[in-house]
């Protein structure tokens, strides 16, 4: 496809797929290309025609909610910044941080935006920084996203060269310095106060709230932390207006959403769709349905730290309210799909191992609770569990729940565990009654294959050895 045809096609979707219409994972648009495709119009409008308060009002009116998992209204988050409550405080230092520490297992939506259209995020960060009167912004990127890091740094350099960053941006009085910070791999850095500690060079344990970062965040100054996808909506909301944003979605949660599916589906991927597409549509129309000949056992609707949903929930719209009413959370909007030939206990064990490893260790319920759950689940999965173990797991779910921990990591671990024990109760009990994993018979077949594959590997090793010589 020529670049003209690509651009033409892309622009035809600018009003329906604002976030992704310019995504090009092979070769993202440089600054000139992005401007030609309609980029930086939103930022120009903000800097030249609107006061910070007016930008805030547009974003508040659009009803944009945070896309990082919690779904908190963005306008409300910003409005707590002192500079927006009292104009005399605009000169005081404050910071914008873009949370690009995408480490929630089963979540990969932000990577598309970071790698595929880096200038969109920079434009968004200019708008957000201007609104909260921040003159310094940090883009906090997870350490493993090397491609994104290279592309973002190039885009930042281009933005400086073309006066989209630095002093007197595009002739305005506004100044912004934007820095890319790459992390070194730790899940908890995605929690906003832990992220702030990480940026300060401290051990990245979450902070107690209050004070909230909007009042006292990075280096003790007012700080707003927003997710990549949340911010990426801003250029489009400013360009097309808040009413357009609300009209994108058929229900009360406005805008589009980066939905994804992975696990045991035919066609895993990311799709930008109107907020509120049903799980069934996402699973069957976009992700191609279940892989091979497996049937749906259950799914996590928005990353590893959300509750399981099952067959009966398939017609639930994927928006914050509806998924909440179904007993789970929209989270990051990425389905993790489990088929009926895979052991749900093994799946939950994998999830809890992750949370136990990534617990920062600050508070006892999380530090001790998550490995304890792993120990019990391991026992059950190996067929050595007892009915008392199930009662113990229930107790632990209670000990690690909201209000008893320092941050949301342990409650996030409880969500898939507790819901699995509800929906897959029979599976847990069968492990205990039968003294083995009931899914083992199919595992045995796999193990036979593994012996074969191990043989092939050994042959490969000896061949490699010969070549080396």
């Amino acid at each position: 496809m020529t670049s003209e045809t690509w651009l033409e096609q892309a622009l035809s979707q600018s009003l329906t797929k604002p976030l992704t219409h310019l995504v090009n994972l092979d070769q993202p648009l440089d600054l000139q290309g992005y401007v030609q495709a309609g980029g930086y119009i939103g930022a120009t409008k903000a800097l030249t025609q609107l006061t910070p308060k007016e930008v805030l009002d547009i974003v508040s009116d659009s009803g944009l909610k945070g896309r990082g998992g919690a779904g908190f209204p963005t306008g409300m988050k910003w409005s707590c910044v002192p500079a927006l409550q009292d104009e005399s405080k605009q000169a005081e230092p404050s910071y914008l941080i873009c949370n690009g520490d995408e480490m929630e297992p089963g979540t990969f939506k932000d990577r598309y935006l970071l790698e595929g259209v880096p200038h969109q995020l920079i434009e968004a960060m200019i708008i957000a920084s201007y609104t909260i009167s921040a003159n310094k912004a940090y883009l906090f990127l997870r350490g493993e996203y090397h491609v994104a890091a290279t592309r973002l740094q190039q885009a930042i350099d281009q933005a400086y060269e073309n006066n989209w960053l630095g002093k007197n941006i595009q002739g305005s009085k506004y100044q912004l310095d934007l820095y890319l910070h790459t992390s070194a791999g730790r899940y908890i850095c995605g929690e906003e106060t832990a992220l702030i500690n990480a940026l300060e060079g401290k051990r990245a344990t979450p902070r107690a709230k209050p004070p909230f970062p909007q009042v006292s965040g990075l280096f003790g100054k007012p700080t707003v932390v927003n997710n990549v996808e949340t911010l990426s909506n801003l250029p489009h909301i400013l360009k097309h207006g808040s009413q357009w944003f609300k009209d994108l979605s058929p229900n009360s949660d406005p805008g589009t959403k980066m939905y994804a599916a992975c696990g045991q589906v035919k066609n895993p991927g990311v799709w930008e769709l109107p907020m509120g597409v049903t799980i069934r549509e996402l699973l069957y129309d976009y992700a191609g349905g279940m892989k091979d000949d497996v049937n749906l056992k259950g799914l996590l609707p928005g990353g590893a730290s959300t509750d399981f949903l099952v067959e009966q929930h398939l017609d639930t719209p994927m928006d914050f309210d509806s998924i909440g009413k179904a007993g789970s959370r929209l989270g990051t909007g990425g389905l993790i799909v489990l088929g009926d030939k895979h052991c749900p206990v093994a799946m939950v064990l994998n999830l809890l191992r992750f949370f136990a490893q990534e617990s920062c260790g600050w508070c006892t319920p999380c530090r001790d609770g998550t490995p304890w759950v792993v120990e019990i689940l391991t026992r059950i999965e190996q067929g050595k569990g007892s009915p008392a173990d199930l009662a113990q797991l229930e107790d632990l779910c209670d000990f690690m729940w909201l209000g008893k921990t320092h941050c949301a990591l342990a409650p996030g671990a409880v969500e898939p565990l507790k819901s699995a024990m509800r929906y897959f109760k029979d599976d847990f009990e069968q492990h205990i009654e039968q003294g083995c994993c009931p899914y083992k018979s199919s595992n045995n077949e796999q193990q036979g294959e593994q012996t074969e594959s191990e043989k092939r590997v050994r042959e490969g090793v000896s061949q490699g050895g010969e070549n080396d010589e």
């Binding site: 493993e144 489990l338 994998n350």
Partner: protein, 189 residues
């Protein structure tokens, strides 16, 4: 298998000679390239300690890992205690506080890879290299580590070797990748 690798990872790291902070002068220890990156990072943050992660990463990039001496030198440079910097260094999965091989394999073991056959890929790698998690091959070429979700769930199973990502792994593709790296490693010696 463990005999080859009993030096580290199996046992906790205990320095044989205790080095005190005073015995290292960071100005002599750190290279000018390392110092300039660290000072640049300091210049864009409000405090010297905020450059900690970047400093650890740049020294690791030059030297492969963070030794006790490196840790002490960086801490001096940033005017913080080495104990404080150790708390930061050990917090992150991608900072190596033990010597690692020329190639560091980070195999994703999170949920999507778990659901799409990560177990088998792990066995293939372990059989090929003759090492387990946390170990390094006797020739010092490969270290095997697990990694939390690499964000490649649409192309799982996935792994990362020296910053390069590999997707949609099969038993065959993993062997072919490792063969390729083994040969280039052999050639460079």
């Amino acid at each position: 298998m463990s005999n080859n690798n009993s030096d580290f990872s199996v046992h906790p790291r205990i320095p044989s000679i205790m080095v005190t902070d005073e015995e290292i002068d960071f100005r002599q220890y750190l290279s000018s390239a390392e110092l300039s990156v660290i000072e640049h990072e300091v210049s864009i943050m409000e405090t010297r300690e905020a450059a900690g992660i970047e400093a650890l990463k740049i020294v690791q990039k030059h030297r492969g890992w963070i030794s006790d001496d490196s840790l002490i030198a960086i801490a001096q440079c940033l005017q913080i205690s080495s104990a404080q910097l150790e708390g930061v260094a050990t917090f992150y999965n991608l900072i190596y506080r033990q010597k690692v091989g020329h190639y560091v394999i980070h195999l994703c073991d999170s949920i999507s890879c778990h659901l799409t056959g990560y177990d088998e890929i792990l066995k293939v790698i372990q059989t090929y290299l003759g090492i387990g998690y946390g170990q390094t091959t006797p020739d010092g070429e490969f270290t095997l580590l697990s990694n939390v979700c690499l964000g490649s769930c649409d192309k799982s199973p996935a792994m990362m070797i020296n910053g390069q990502h590999y997707h949609s792994l099969t038993n065959e593709s993993v062997v072919s990748i490792l063969n390729g790296l083994s040969q280039s490693a052999g050639g460079s010696v």
